[in-house]
Symmetry: C2
Subunit: 330 residues, 2 copies
Amino acid sequence: MKKFINKPENVENEMLDGIAKMHPEYVRRLDGLDVIVRSEKKKDKVALISGGGSGHEPAHAGYVGYGMLDGAVAGPVFTSPTPDQIYEAVKAVDDGKGTLLVIKNYTGDIMNFDMAAEMASMEGIEVEQVVVNDDVAVKDSLYTTGRRGVAGTVFVHKIAGAAAEEGRSLKEVKEVAEKVIANVRTMGVAISPCTVPAAGKPGFEINDDEMEVGIGIHGEPGTHKEKLTTADEITSHLLECILKDIDFEGSEVAVMINDSGATPLMELYIVGNKVSDILKEKGIKVYKSLVGHYMTSIEMAGFSISLLKLDEELKTLLDAKADTVGFKAL
Amino acid sequence: MKKFINKPENVENEMLDGIAKMHPEYVRRLDGLDVIVRSEKKKDKVALISGGGSGHEPAHAGYVGYGMLDGAVAGPVFTSPTPDQIYEAVKAVDDGKGTLLVIKNYTGDIMNFDMAAEMASMEGIEVEQVVVNDDVAVKDSLYTTGRRGVAGTVFVHKIAGAAAEEGRSLKEVKEVAEKVIANVRTMGVAISPCTVPAAGKPGFEINDDEMEVGIGIHGEPGTHKEKLTTADEITSHLLECILKDIDFEGSEVAVMINDSGATPLMELYIVGNKVSDILKEKGIKVYKSLVGHYMTSIEMAGFSISLLKLDEELKTLLDAKADTVGFKAL
């Protein structure tokens, strides 16, 4: 295992301290907890919390700030945060308007966020939840009942975050989050695995001429291995799977090409070149493209493509001002 | 060679098309050229151009837009763009107020940008140049007389770009660019090499327990190999080299922790945690931190630390609004 770390057992703690120390104008860490919140609590709005295992940076702490999240809870690498950590996050960010939990569909996350929601409810805090399940690659997986929640989650943070920032009620913010979830689809591929520091060895093995299709974001293998082919062919295949899942024809979309960690931007734009051509050919209009590191899997070399079907409301909220370490919109 | 590409000889062309197609609200590509310019030409200001070999994305096309560059010229991977391409870029962006070329110190770049400047001068366009040489690792290198220009270049784009945007003269924009160059220092390290697509094999070999210290940004080896040690020790060493080069004591600084390509953000923040501690201990106040992908070397696993000594003028210009694909400031 070749990494820039000190001790494997300290990576999460030192990372969270690093984020808080380097960006005090954006965030602070709650004392003794693995929770990152805005450095100044935003008053009089619905609070948004997300989180999950570490290893997906800039998700989720990188999205804490104006126009997106109020708090992010970090578990150990690829492991759900505990209910009490999530509960503490809710208590810290809720301002009487209620809190929305944005959960990626993984069994551990569902269970722990749900338990935290119950704890908060017993304290009289109004908590709602949404579960993101944008991955079209698998129906059920090793860690999931139903589809996995992957990079499309960042669209939920952005759009629900903007809705909360403009003062909408908890019910309304939840509704718009669910609209995003209903309209976003993602699929990914990888050519190299990642190594969880505590495990010390890669999550799967792969030959020099192979790729993992339908990869998740936790170092787990994809649906199957195939011979590595050209960027154009891979892109066509991923888009085909996405486009047959819901009807995007004639609509406007936001595109995200998300880096799993170690894929050069050069390659993401070669993929983007093909994505643009295919969507144009199919009469799908691209309203906005996001290309880069949004929901990573430590140092995995791979990428995912997400398409979000937009209407006027989603376009306005996607464009709204956001100012976080990992996502800025002017 | 395992990459998401089509043919090695097409990577630059497809990448540039991809950038232009995915971000038409920011940039467009000049017909038949490897030049990216703002989609709407900004009138009545000094123009800024940078560029160099491809493989450093988001540099340089990612920095074309409001508050930063007006044009970026892309050579083949790690190879200087030709004088005629640079000359065409100058002609496209100059608006009668003159053009500043921001060059990283590499022999090929110096020669070709210089020749382009001469060609433009003969057409009556006023062109000035600055050469960035922030790398403290080497005095001379395989490709350089004097120090190499590396990640610190992004600070020059940001700050000189802001100065041009607020209407300063060519002379004034050049002066502030030179102030940044005089006050920025960088040093890097890597644990894995990168592969130039056309070469098909890694730029250097390295053992599983080794790191390359003083790495450049072109896949070339660093100054020497050492046993890979802890993130804290590596960080201390890099900062020590930077801090003994110019006197940062008692000053305010901007910090950049730049990803060479394949280093997870998790590790960059572990480094950032130590950077924060060391600077605090030494009485150096961090005004702003940038952590992420700014000046990459394709898929190299490594990072560099840059420190920029700030005064009030540089702080204001660093904070000024910027809206580009690769760098946003609100």
